[in-house]
């Protein structure tokens, strides 16, 4: 096998040195009756060329760049500067383990420290962790963190938070006896703050909103924060579309931000791996889940970085840890770090503005042929379109033209009728928008 650096002679010599005749002796501790007495039902070793062919075939059976894609809904199609893959492909980055040995892991550690800093700059928070699994688990863990901080056991969640994020929260909450109340949205697409006022109780640890929310609408974070704080609850803001931070005011009024960083140079990859991240105020840092990198010095006074505050973590605290997370999404966070570095202070703004412009144009075009909902509040790069036709049928139809239509909302929001969620990014071409707007008209 080409991955195994042993010759038959090497293997023999090693057995001899160990003092055994056959490798089977090493497996003797496994009771014979349980051992597998046949070969695995898996094909024999394949050539690299054949593997490549097989996956090429699978790839060509899967729609990708050849289609104009109007899907967003938590996973966004942005241009990925080529530097990202070039740099993360260095073996020193992608074949390294968690940086537990700082003397030979400063590359990873410094990059994470830079990631944490950039996330703080963008979100307006004071500290950020090294990453969580994804946006959904980050939001969920942020809610659990709020419960630890406040000692309260309930959460109030906007119905305009990504439905799958809410599902994940439900899965985790259920077993911790945490009660989740949902708050509806208004005609503007924004949270119904009157309903929110009512939903918050003495046991509400936090309010969880998403902004831009699942419909692309930018929430009035300050107003929501005011209500939550007045009632002694924290505000958790989820961000699924990180590029919005280039032009949308950061949620500085929040206590915890739970962000999905996929938009920052991470391939769509059929849903993962992405990278969540939790950012918060300094005062909450000891309740934060996940790894943190901190700056310190060596004995010669040189700056260096280490994993720190790990008494929060499972490998030290076990069942009392702030989370069970161990392996995180470090390499994806590195992708995001490189993306943020490439675009930087001016580029992220310009990029976000391009997203705004494409979407504004699309809203105008779609508005001519269908109904665009939620017009009363600012939006970023998504919008909801109501059509006469069922969105699935519509999507089937325009798929012929190599257009992948918006995300049908009926499953999660039956109250919106024949509605679907469309997304435009800097990659969406005008001609595709024009074609899609025409397609929607039927």
């Amino acid at each position: 096998m080409r991955y195994l650096p042993k010759s038959p002679a090497d293997r023999e010599l090693m057995l001899r040195e160990i003092g055994i005749r056959s490798v089977d002796e090493l497996f003797a501790p496994i009771p014979a009756e349980y051992r597998l007495k046949r070969e695995l039902d898996i094909a024999p070793s394949m050539a690299e060329a054949d593997i490549l062919d097989w996956f090429r075939q699978r790839a060509s059976d899967t729609a990708a760049s050849a289609y104009a894609n109007f899907l967003g809904a938590g996973a966004y199609h942005h241009y990925r500067p080529v530097l990202i893959d070039m740099l993360i492909s260095r073996g020193e980055f992608f074949t390294a383990y968690t940086p537990y040995q700082p003397e030979i892991s400063q590359g990873t550690l410094q990059a994470i420290f830079e990631f944490q800093t950039m996330v703080c700059e963008l979100t307006g928070m004071e500290v950020a962790n090294a990453s969580m699994y994804d946006g959904s688990t980050a939001a969920t863990e942020a809610v659990m963190m709020a419960a630890r901080v406040t000692g309260r056991k309930g959460a109030v969640v906007a119905r305009s938070v990504h439905p799958e994020y809410r599902e994940v929260l439900a899965t985790y909450a259920k077993n911790q006896g945490m009660l989740i109340a949902e708050v509806p949205f208004l005609d503007t697409g924004r949270l119904n703050t009157a309903a929110l006022e009512k939903a918050i109780t003495d046991n509400t640890a936090c309010v969880l909103i998403q902004s831009p929310n699942f419909f692309g609408t930018v929430e009035d974070v300050a107003a929501v924060a005011e209500i939550a704080h007045r009632k002694g609850a924290l505000l958790v803001v989820a961000i699924a579309e990180a590029v919005s931070l280039g032009i949308v005011k950061p949620p500085t009024e929040a206590d915890i931000v739970a962000m999905e960083a996929q938009s920052f140079g991470v391939p769509l990859s059929f849903g993962g791996p992405y990278a969540g991240v939790i950012a918060t105020k300094e005062k909450f840092v000891r309740q934060m889940p996940g790894r943190l990198v901190g700056q310190t010095v060596d004995k010669r006074g040189n700056r260096g970085f280490v994993l720190t505050l790990s008494t929060r973590e499972q490998h030290i605290r076990r069942e009392k840890a702030t989370s069970n997370i161990c392996t995180n999404q470090a390499l994806i966070a590195l992708m995001a770090t490189i993306f943020m570095t490439v675009y930087g202070r001016e580029g992220l703004k310009e990029l976000a503005t391009h997203n705004l412009a494409k979407t504004a144009y699309a809203v105008k075009q779609f508005g001519k042929t269908a109904k665009v909902l939620f017009r009363g509040a600012p939006r970023f790069n998504e919008f909801v379109v109501q059509t006469g036709e069922d969105p699935k049928a519509l999507n089937d139809r325009i798929l012929q033209q190599k257009i992948i239509g918006g995300f049908p909302l009926k499953k999660f929001y039956p109250e919106l009728g024949n509605a679907s969620l469309w997304c435009c990014t800097e990659l969406t071409r005008k001609i595709a928008i024009d074609a899609a707007a025409k397609g929607v008209a039927r």
């Binding site: 009771p31 760049s65 996973a75 659990m144 005011k249 040189n302």
Partner: protein, 496 residues
């Protein structure tokens, strides 16, 4: 190149500041295409939700970015650098073909919500991997959704909980051996269970009498690691399972150490009900400096109804699709379907090895660990003499006389050109040296490691200061971790 240290030497290496320290106004690393739609005024569109500026985000050019990340990468050690004997971590070779196939356009640029009919390739990959992993585990159902081992543990324990709940009572506690990884108890807590500790016996295995005494109808499940964190196969695993099952509990297996078993024995065949795999260990997906991983959970038929939604199924028309209609499901554990890119890599690894390669891999992994054990036995103390599988755990007992701890030996290994082993885990060994070479190491590399370990043991006698102050050859020396924790500096700020 000192005579004693054969594997490494020192060489000039670049310093490099933080990216923020290289920034200055007006440098650019990007250019956007010309807008093909009318430009907009964000202030007008967003009103007071518009952002003023992006604070201290860096402004640098392309070459500075390339140099920055290239330079800092050279401060790292990876599997590509050499032996990475972290016990429990299975730091094996990350095949390059995996990286290529995961980046193919159709796979890397597929949106999770695109219609199933134009996602058949991606779905087939999921299906093929599910099938292979079930076969390897001897299980009847599987979910690929969990993002890592700990996430898999949670999923698995929630499956158990849902199952028990469906029988009327989720129960209260989870039994966990004292040798377990920290994620096990942390998971149990998140799943809403109390943790009950289970002592290991003198051979380092689950103590059957204790288990019998502790097992009762309040216990939802036992979380067992096999081979356990000592690298020891739980020889009485079938008895263990029987005891738990007899009281209506379930047996969860932490599959972090599956690299010792693939093709030789299947957990499903020795009484395990549910388990996770770490694709970033056993199945070669890269660790990436801490992640991403992937932690599929395989289980017996009885737990299948509770799997997270969605589940990949073959539809009536023969095409593949997602089934969301699973009323007993525990729900989602994350958005979308899992760390798909890692699943692609794991499947490519399985295809490259095939059944023959997978078996040889297991054998080589176990031979490598036993070779190291044989050569270092006597040089370092072996707290448990039970046979080792894929890893071997020593302690620093012989060296403590001179005040040298496992962490010091670890640091000194760096000077010898190696990444250290896992330090001070598992906790049932006082000051452990936990060594897992994996199958990816050549005889040459192993011999160099053994030489280094022997040489360090000698230094512990002859020049303990050298060991205590190691490493000596790195660009920075040992770092002040206390200071890092006491006065946390968790982000860069511009100098006032």
């Amino acid at each position: 190149m000192s005579g004693k240290i054969k594997k490494a030497t020192t060489h000039v290496i670049q310093n490099e500041g933080l990216i923020f320290e290289k920034s200055s106004r007006g440098k650019k690393g990007y250019k956007l295409p010309q807008l093909d739609v009318p430009d907009v005024n964000p202030a007008k569109l967003l009103g007071n939700a518009a952002r003023a500026d992006l604070g201290n985000m860096p402004e640098v050019s392309e070459i500075e970015i390339i140099r920055h990340f290239t330079r800092i990468s050279t401060w790292n050690y990876g599997v590509d650098t050499g032996l990475y004997p972290l016990g429990s971590c299975t730091m094996k070779y990350n095949p390059r073909i995996n990286e290529i196939v995961a980046r193919l356009d159709g796979l890397a640029n597929a949106h999770p919500y695109q219609p199933e009919k134009v996602s058949q390739g991606a779905l087939l990959i999921l299906q093929a991997l599910r099938k292979a992993l079930m076969e390897i585990c001897g299980m009847e159902a599987i979910t690929l959704q969990p993002a890592a081992g700990a996430h898999g543990e949670l999923t698995g324990i929630l499956l158990a909980r849902a199952y028990l709940q469906s029988k009327g009572n989720p129960r209260k506690r989870i039994l966990i051996p004292d040798s377990a990884h920290g994620t096990n108890p942390a998971t149990a807590a998140i799943a809403g269970y109390e943790v009950e500790n289970l002592k290991s016996n003198a051979r380092g295995m689950v103590d059957i009498p204790s288990l019998e005494a502790q097992m009762n109808e309040d216990i939802a499940a036992l979380m067992v690691t096999n081979p356990n964190t000592l690298g020891v196969f739980e020889q009485e695993i079938h008895k263990v399972a029987d005891i738990v099952h007899r009281k209506g509990g379930l047996v969860y297996m932490d599959g972090a150490n599956m690299n010792a078993l693939v093709g030789k024995v299947r957990p499903g065949d020795f009484g395990i009900d549910v388990m996770h795999l770490n694709l970033h260990k056993t199945f070669s997906t890269p660790h990436g400096g801490g992640g991403p991983g992937s932690g599929p959970v395989a289980c017996k038929k009885i737990l299948e109804p509770f799997l997270p939604v969605p589940v990949v199924v073959t539809k009536k028309d023969g095409t593949l699709g997602f089934d969301y209609d699973r009323p007993q499901s525990i729900g989602r554990v994350r958005a979308f379907y899992g760390n798909f890119g890692m699943l692609v890599r794991a499947l490519a690894y399985i295809m490259a090895n095939g059944r023959d390669g997978l078996l040889q891999t297991t054998e080589d992994a176990v031979v490598n660990a036993n070779y190291i054990r044989k050569k270092l036995e006597g040089v370092y103390e072996l707290p448990y003499s039970t046979p080792s599988m894929h890893e071997v755990v020593f302690s620093d007992h012989k060296q403590t006389a001179k005040g040298i701890k496992t962490g010091d030996i670890a640091k000194r290994l760096i000077d010898y050109g190696f990444h250290p082993y896992t330090v001070s885990f598992p906790m049932i060994v006082h000051a452990a040296l936990m060594i897992e070479p994996t199958e990816s190491e050549s005889l040459e590399e192993l011999d160099l490691f053994i030489d280094a370990m022997k040489s360090i043991a000698e230094e512990c006698e002859s020049e303990p200061e050298t060991v205590l102050n190691a490493p000596h050859t790195t660009r920075i020396a040992r770092l002040d971790e206390t200071r890092a924790a006491r006065q946390p500096v968790l982000r860069w700020k511009p100098q006032a």
